[in-house]
Symmetry: none
Subunit: 416 residues, 2 copies
Amino acid sequence: MKAEIVAIGTELLLGQIVNTNAQFLSRECAAIGVDVYLQTVVGDNEHRLLETFKLAASRADVVICTGGLGPTQDDLTKDVLAGFVGRELIIHEPSMTAITDMFQSRGIHMVESNRRQALMLADSDPLHNETGLAVGIAFTYEGTHFILLPGPPKEMKPMFSKYAVPWLQTKMTDEVPLYSKMLKFAGIGESNLEHQLLDLIAAQTDPTIAPYAKEGEVTIRITTRAQSAEEGEKKLQSTEEAIRSRLSEHLYANHDVPIEAVVVQLLAAKKLTLAVAESCTGGLLGDLITSIPGSSQPFLGGIICYTNALKHQLLSVPLEVLEGEGAPGAVSSETAVLLAEHISGKTGSDFGISITGVAGPSSSEGKPVGLVYIGFAQKNKPTQVIALQLSGNRESIKHRAAKSALYQLWKQLKDQ
Amino acid sequence: MKAEIVAIGTELLLGQIVNTNAQFLSRECAAIGVDVYLQTVVGDNEHRLLETFKLAASRADVVICTGGLGPTQDDLTKDVLAGFVGRELIIHEPSMTAITDMFQSRGIHMVESNRRQALMLADSDPLHNETGLAVGIAFTYEGTHFILLPGPPKEMKPMFSKYAVPWLQTKMTDEVPLYSKMLKFAGIGESNLEHQLLDLIAAQTDPTIAPYAKEGEVTIRITTRAQSAEEGEKKLQSTEEAIRSRLSEHLYANHDVPIEAVVVQLLAAKKLTLAVAESCTGGLLGDLITSIPGSSQPFLGGIICYTNALKHQLLSVPLEVLEGEGAPGAVSSETAVLLAEHISGKTGSDFGISITGVAGPSSSEGKPVGLVYIGFAQKNKPTQVIALQLSGNRESIKHRAAKSALYQLWKQLKDQ
């Protein structure tokens, strides 16, 4: 079943609000096997609304509209649609009663325009509004199903999930349900990942394999249709395994979580602790880790050693390593190793991670922007250090450096 | 000038990401006097893309597209548009060089598909991508202007503001130019701010005053049309002063910068240094500060003292303050004061800021989620501490706590 989502409201076209309704509805539709192939945002303008409805009806099996059901004069959705399909507007009595009761109970004078919120099209099904006054509507016109929902998310969401979805499912009895899974990768770029899966993606029929980029993350979504959840899971499983067999070093989760969540979970499960020494990331690594509830168990904290003075004073890196003729410098594997070992030693943590590099915009110590060293100290094991040459602006270099450090830690933890 | 915004990407239709690009572009278009009358979201599908371009070209003076410029096989925007307008795709050499250089410098094997990011239409103007690899494009076809931007916001935003807007303005020569200014506020909520400006907003004609919601920030945009930049500036100036006279304690900038940028600038100008002691923010304050180029001069670094053990070991907070019957505890003004004074003492910084609180989701030490203490130590001055009861989830509590700390510092600095 092909769906088009139409959001109505000039405030969206002025950029005053983000169209989160479209995301919610798209996600919910995908979950029940309705294919959203177009989203449209149109203002409170009679002519453009009519044009939009005509186009949508000609393209889609179901048109889901949000907004324009309120009491004011620029709430035109029902009026325009009534004109388009040639049905009159009638009062939905239960809604009318609810509206008058509300005004009476609050002792507010009810202005005539509030009656508009109880209007519905003749021969349409009302959709109950549990959290507001405007009644929703569902009806079918020349083979196209129309669903009208209020704009405010707190009214729209429950109305859609509780009343519109069941209504819609009675119209799609012949469809096979959809099942999907997210695979999350770290330590690999999107194009490189896709390159390694090229044959699988090219040969994909069922399940389908769709890569998509999310800021600083690489994710793949595999989707299939099946008669039962068990059958769906079985089909997804085999595709997941085919991908995992090629990319097990990068596939860190089969649901939508950031790598810091997986790392915190692994550390907690293994009762291991972590401390960080951050130079160029300036606290970002600690911020990412502490964004995860429960991180206070494995994460002890760390030191933001932004200056050489602090690297020396707080983390005992010898000045001759940091400065002077022929010294390795702050951005060096020597410094990364010492920072990682000393933060672990000072805090008594099982793991000590250090990040030192050049975030830019200008180079430092004659070293190029994007050069980053990550030190990785672990009790009773030799300290490791990796050098990265990252691209992007200051923000993305910091972000990639922090995510790379988390990736290194994940690789250690997953096999322990 | 009538604009249509076309966002391209199946991940939008699956509801995997929110279309924040459309909001950004709508807002920026409004700011330069371009009327966005429609937003469309279409998937990575050749046929539907073509239909969408045809329709948009028939309706709009300018079509602004985001997404589908990447290296992967489902990045079709340029190919489809080239077919539609009947122009061939050619390599933009500077972009090609940048791409190959990037891969060489990082020592990564460059897969053929990455060349696609350097493609542009014949007879089109390239739009420089400062933060990514895919080149943008601007051209005019049968009276309709097309602007192609990358999907990732961090690439799209600077490309639009720095390169697409000036290009577009050369096409709007007959319109009376629009001038606008952003006023940025801290330490005050949006509704409170609006309340204090209610009469001004109600009486507004020219310039207009529009509150401008942005995650964790309070911003007002004042806008006017004028024949010259001087005239525009003069009109904006008087409105700005009327607002400043009421909210000088909160108005920290009259252009779009985060408060951390203003704080770093003030510290550097006054040759003052800062160190931080972060508990519940876990490094976020340091991350915000170090997101500003040049922060390495005033910002020394700090300590992420996430556990009581580290508050004691690294910042010498007595255990009897942190734990035990009747102790103030880690989340207390006593601890905030000691953390601020000791981080300043240990690092020799002019200012020492501490943040300790309950980020949630669950309460701690029997203290409520959102309770945060900010300690503020300054050489030869009594240490101050403020208590905040913040609302929101873990992420927004961390964010608001860090921004509040920056606001306190800004208030100190602006009058020194």
